[in-house]
């Protein structure tokens, strides 16, 4: 998690420093995409936990 925060900060820095508008947009969207992946990972982990704890799968 720490490395995600570090990378987000670094990408923010590049967005600020870049002299090309389209490049700024690309770097910003890279950050957003990584954040979206992190969110999906959390959601899927939650879903997996839910399935592991489902009483239906305790019978075996």
């Amino acid at each position: 998690m720490e490395s995600v925060e570090w990378l987000v900060e670094q990408l923010d820095k590049l967005v600020k420093e870049s002299r090309d508008y389209k490049q700024k947009a690309l770097l910003l969207s890279t950050k957003k995409l990584i954040q979206e992946q992190e969110k999906r990972k959390e959601q899927l982990s939650g879903e997996l936990d839910g399935r592991l704890w489902s009483p239906g799968s305790w019978r075996e």
């Binding site: 870049s18 090309d20 947009a25 690309l26 910003l28 969207s29 999906r40 899927l44």
Partner: protein, 232 residues
């Protein structure tokens, strides 16, 4: 994949949103921008030229301001002239079959107004039915429209996100898929020019971002695999 953007706007020079979108298109994106009012100021359309353009592209986009719930007059005229029988429909009229058809709509009113109970009262899906019918009749796959509401009120960050989403709408096979967006982004990052970033460690940071995008994808696929396993 090659994309043709058929742009219609009677006063494009005064439109901040249209200028923004035109500037957003990357040269290497296999996108052709085709502005009807500039091409045909007298309104006389070259049928053969237009049909040839359609044949050369896989994804056809109509981009226009959503005036009175429809397109500007020249784009309607273009449809009347170009989408002819035996070309777009009817006997042997299968030249557009299998292509994709999408709309980029520039809308001055807020998104929430285009809901039942909103000021406009009808949804974009309802109001764009004639375009959906064109796609159906010509055998094209209708894409979800790319609607831009109240461009002028967007923050700088929102505009930047819009720029990338628009590029993806024009060039991505599945514009809604996270995986497709990741692949697109990786390709862009690998081609990034560092001349415009005065930061020494920029290549290192970008390498880290690429690794993270790839590692996250592996993790996401693995999680999905486990979930599917337990779903059986």
């Amino acid at each position: 994949m090659k994309t043709l953007v058929i742009l219609s706007h009677p006063s494009i020079g005064e439109s901040g949103s249209q200028q923004f979108l035109i500037q957003s298109v990357n040269d290497h994106n296999h996108v052709t921008l085709h502005h009807l009012e500039r091409e045909y100021p007298d309104g006389i359309i070259d049928l053969k030229k237009e049909q040839n353009l359609l044949l050369q592209h896989d994804r056809i986009i109509f981009q226009f301001p959503f005036y009175w719930y429809s397109s500007p007059p020249l784009l309607k005229h273009w449809q009347d002239e170009v989408l002819t029988e035996h070309f777009a429909y009817g006997y042997r009229g299968d030249k557009l079959h299998g292509k994709e058809f999408g709309l980029v709509l520039i809308i001055g009113v807020g998104e929430k107004e285009y809901e039942s109970g909103g000021q406009e009262g009808f949804s974009i899906s309802e109001l764009t039915k004639p375009f959906q019918a064109v796609a159906k009749k010509t055998g094209m796959t209708y894409l979800k429209p790319f609607s831009i509401f109240q461009f002028a009120y967007k923050t700088e960050e929102e505009k930047m996100e819009l720029l990338i989403a628009y590029q993806q709408y024009l060039s991505l096979k599945e514009a809604d898929s996270l995986k497709a967006k990741e692949e697109w982004m990786l390709k862009q990052l690998e081609e990034l020019s560092y001349d415009t970033i005065p930061v020494d460690e920029a290549p290192f940071i970008i390498d880290e971002a690429i690794s993270m995008l790839e590692d996250n994808r592996l993790e996401l696929d693995e999680l999905r695999l486990h979930i599917d396993h337990y779903a059986d």
